[in-house]
């Protein structure tokens, strides 16, 4: 008999109207790295929440070392040695690293904190596993990568030996990802067991021992990584063949569509500038990608171009017309289509119906209104056309409340709206964030198709695969400046990573680092 440390047997978890987990069995061996793969909404997070005690399963049982255990809340999970690094870190921003690590299990004598003891333990752990942290730094001041190390140290501090990582690489640079993989391997050598949730196949192939694939709440199977391939895994995950490379011809750049000159944007949070004198151009028929680690000014730069935020200096021209001071509506009319970064905050009115959201950028056009009265019939038929054309799936078609739709279909609705609108420049900010491979493939095709129709495409992405595969030209942003212009066909992922982390630059003042 195999020696399993944790077994989740025949887990079924229902939510109103949906079976999130349907008879799922997951068995974790001691000392292995076990990947959990699945599309969005496949039930990965639900399954992990059941294991971590956040949800109770209707059917099935959880065993540890063969013994049936009951996990009613995260504290139960903790006492069984189960720890979790959440996708969105659960850290107190204004506390120090050390304070965050001991939070909840503070060593004390008569109610007085014994920090010294804690510090020794944390430093020992940090040294042992190569998790570099500064125990006295405030969380809000340290990098995302270090925040993640704090989360990992939190688990270790609690002597957990079953570690759950929920999409840990989404926020990291390539170098940081490599480091994390190495740390995970170290844990496994030590005898700790790791559950690794992801939908990035490369990472699974490089680090995992086995992989369990979920699709639509059902368990498709568990495979040994050494006996499988990326193609097979993706086929298991989505149920059809997926192409990983984006098919596209050589770009044929024509006239300049967007020209950004010396644009600076003040920061929302500090006195410094988030964007410092950035200049670049986007031509018709090319996809320009702004790459960079999150928070290096990409958001602010896009906000300035689309008019959501005011810039402190600089000029923006669209097809030669100065739109530096134009309103958002005027820019939209002039030909900017914008797929926003945050689809819930900006892209959609979630409480509106799908059809109302589809005309969000066009309801004022004569096609859809007369004397201020909205032409419901035209809106309906237009929405139906786009829903069909872009395969937007929803419960009730045009009258579905947008909030009830899945993330991928919400994004498709936005894409349908922005692409069908008359435009010359398409700005797509992280258009595939949080989506599964099927939806990603669709969106990439749309971006390339748009380019081939002679539009300029400005893509902002944090995903390196996307940056390398989709773009015709890469601009790397670091601390509010463009530090590199690269050709995706000539540059390697590793080199791109160096530019993204600020270690290298080939544009701007500090030329000393240039190649």
């Amino acid at each position: 008999m195999e020696n399993y440390i944790i077994e989740m047997l025949h887990i079924t978890k229902e939510f109103p109207g949906i079976i999130a987990n349907d008879d799922i069995t997951l068995q974790l061996k001691k000392g292995e790295i076990h990947a959990l793969l699945g599309e969005n909404g496949a039930g990965k997070s639900t399954l992990m929440s059941v294991l971590f005690g956040l949800y109770q399963a209707e059917k099935g049982e959880i065993r540890k070392n063969g013994q049936v255990v009951k996990i009613n809340n995260p504290n139960d999970a903790n006492s069984l040695g189960i720890g979790m690094v959440h996708q969105h870190f659960k850290l107190v921003e204004i506390f120090t690293v050390l304070e965050n690590i001991i939070l909840g299990v503070e060593p004390n004598k008569l109610g007085f904190l014994q920090k010294k003891e804690a510090r020794e333990k944390v430093m020992a752990l940090s040294k042992k596993y190569g998790l570099q942290v500064d125990p006295d730094a405030l969380i809000e001041k340290i990098s995302v990568g270090m925040q993640q190390r704090v989360e990992i140290l939190k688990m270790l501090y609690r002597d957990n030996d079953i570690l759950i990582f929920d999409e840990p690489t989404a926020v990291l640079t390539p170098q940081e990802i490599d480091e994390l993989m190495e740390i995970m391997r170290g844990f496994a050598r030590e005898g700790k067991s790791i559950l690794f949730i992801t939908h990035k196949l490369n990472e699974i192939m490089s680090v995992a021992d086995r992989c369990t694939v979920l699709r639509k709440g059902k368990c498709i199977g568990t495979v040994e990584i050494k006996n499988t391939s990326k193609e097979e895994l993706s086929h298991m995950m989505v149920g059809r063949q997926i192409s990983f490379t984006v098919d596209k011809e050589e770009a044929q750049p024509k006239d300049v569509v967007l020209s950004v000159k010396n644009v600076s944007v003040p920061s929302r949070t500090s006195k410094k500038h988030a964007v410092k004198g950035v200049s670049f151009e986007v031509r018709a028929g090319e996809i320009v990608c702004l790459a960079g680690i999150e928070g290096n000014g990409q958001t602010e730069l896009i906000s300035a171009i689309t008019g959501l935020e005011k810039m402190s200096s600089g000029e923006i021209h669209l097809q030669g017309r100065d739109i530096t001071k134009a309103s958002i509506r005027k820019r939209s009319k002039a030909g900017i289509s914008h797929i926003p970064e945050d689809r819930h905050k900006y892209g959609l009115v979630l409480d509106y119906t799908l059809e109302d959201n589809i005309v969000l950028q066009r309801y004022w056009q004569p096609e859809f209104q007369k004397h201020g009265f909205i032409k419901k019939a035209e809106v309906r038929s237009y929405a139906q056309r786009l829903i069909g054309q872009y395969d937007v799936r929803s419960g009730q078609g045009p009258i579905t409340i947008t909030r009830s739709m899945s993330g991928g279909n919400q994004q498709k609705a936005i894409i349908a709206r922005e692409l069908d609108k008359k435009h010359e420049l398409l700005i797509a900010v992280q258009p595939t964030r949080g989506l599964d491979v099927g939806a990603i493939e669709f969106i990439h095709k749309q971006l390339v198709h748009n380019r081939d129709e002679g539009k300029g495409v400005l893509l902002v992405s944090l995903e390196l695969d996307e940056v390398m595969n989709v773009s015709d030209r890469i601009l790397v942003m670091y601390e509010g400046e463009i530090v590199g212009e690269l050709d995706p066909k000539k540059v390697t992922v590793e080199k791109l990573g160096l530019y993204m982390s600020g270690a290298k630059r080939n544009i701007g003042k500090e030329k000393e680092h240039a190649e």
Binding site: L308, S327, Y346, Y352, W364, I374
Partner: protein
């Protein structure tokens, strides 16, 4: 035996519709509020509780004219609060706008010489303008300087009230110092009565209902309504879509102010049942209660103009019943408590609605199993 009314399929369609759930929530709020109100009456004066409560509930039916007459101003302030709320603005300044509208209407009534048939119409329009003016200023401050409309409109309640009191007291034509109230308005400035005996009910209730219907159409059929609701639901998305947030904020506050102002005009311009007299205003430094009742009306009507028609009539009905109950020795404050409880519960209506839906689903599941 299967109960037809509560058959599973029927319950499913019922619980599925959104209008139904808002309606049940309001109804549930009312029922629970009434039960609590009854308990208060039992505690206050046990002997008369049964009779008193039946007067609260049914007394209004014997004075339908009055119910509609008193419903009119709170219908207007209710619409005012509800309309602004659709855009995500909390117009707590309905009182000040109401008072301003009343003053403008009164001023035209006393001071302007206008041909008979036209006089009250001009007075009503003056009330509209007065309210608009008072709604406009918090709107401008909110749009251009990002000053919270709650704070400014509360301040404008006081500024409006004291300003009107001062202007009235300094005006010899309008004010009768001996009686500390305004003089009687000329008959030409009073609105045409509906001729219900012993009641002041007049054409304004119809005007108010027509306005409610117009607002409903504006909210649901026009681009302005589309923008307004989009802003109320998600101001970031409306900005992203290029909607003119500043203009819409000012416009919404102007309209909301105008609605409250009309409420004030309708109140003061009502015809009197006694020939030669009229409604009067007492400048005694009290903020108009009808403005705040409007908040309750809007809440109970779920900010839907059609819902607000019914909620204003209901609250007016309970208030009339309460006046009758006070003849049995109940203080009018008891009625205020009953109404307050209803408002409290309507704030919880969403939670109750969820509980109610769960309850029905439970029956349904049992029915399905049986």
């Amino acid at each position: 035996m299967q109960n037809k009314l509560f058959s599973p399929s029927r319950l499913r369609t019922l619980t599925g519709s959104k209008g139904f759930s808002t309606f049940t929530a309001a109804l549930l709020a009312i029922v629970l509020g009434l039960i609590f109100g009854f308990l208060v009456m039992v505690i206050a004066l046990p002997a008369n509780a049964g009779q008193g409560f039946s007067r609260v509930l049914f007394g209004g039916f014997s004075r339908l004219g009055d119910v509609f007459y008193f419903a009119t101003p709170i219908l207007m302030t209710g619409l005012s609060v509800g309309f602004a709320f659709k855009m995500g603005l909390f117009n707590i300044g309905a009182s000040g706008q109401y008072t301003m509208g009343m003053f403008f209407a009164m001023y035209v009534g006393f001071m302007w010489k206008v041909p008979d048939g036209l006089h009250w119409v001009i007075c009503v329009l003056a009330g509209l303008i007065g309210g608009m003016l008072w709604g406009c200023i918090p709107g401008i401050l909110k749009a251009l300087c990002n000053v919270n409309e709650v704070i400014t409109s509360i301040m404008f309640n006081y500024i409006g009230m004291y300003l009107v009191d001062m202007l009235v007291q300094n005006n010899g034509t309008m004010y009768v110092a001996m009686k500390t109230r305004t003089a009687y308005l000329p008959a030409s400035a009073q609105m045409p009565s509906l001729g219900v005996e012993n009641s002041n009910v007049n054409v304004s209730i119809f005007i108010a209902i027509i306005i409610a219907v117009l607002l409903y159409v504006t909210l649901n059929k026009t681009t302005f309504g589309y923008e307004l609701k989009a802003t109320g639901f998600n101001k970031f998305a409306s900005k992203y879509a290029g909607m003119n947030d500043k203009r819409n904020t000012i416009l919404t506050m102007v309209i909301a102010g105008g609605l409250s102002g009309l409420g004030g005009a309708f109140y003061i311009l009502a015809p009197s049942t006694i020939a030669g007299s009229s409604m009067t205003y007492e400048p005694i430094s009290v903020i108009a209660a009808n403005g705040f009742t409007g908040i309750a009306v809007a809440l109970l009507g779920a900010s839907n103009p059609i819902g607000i028609i019914f909620s204003s009539i209901f609250i007016s009905h309970i208030q009339r019943g309460g006046t009758l109950a006070s003849l049995l020795g109940y203080k009018p404050e008891i009625i205020d408590i009953v109404i307050a409880v209803i408002i409290y519960f309507s704030a919880f209506s969403l939670i109750m609605n969820a509980a109610f839906t769960r309850f029905i689903k439970k029956i349904r599941r049992k029915g399905a199993k049986a």
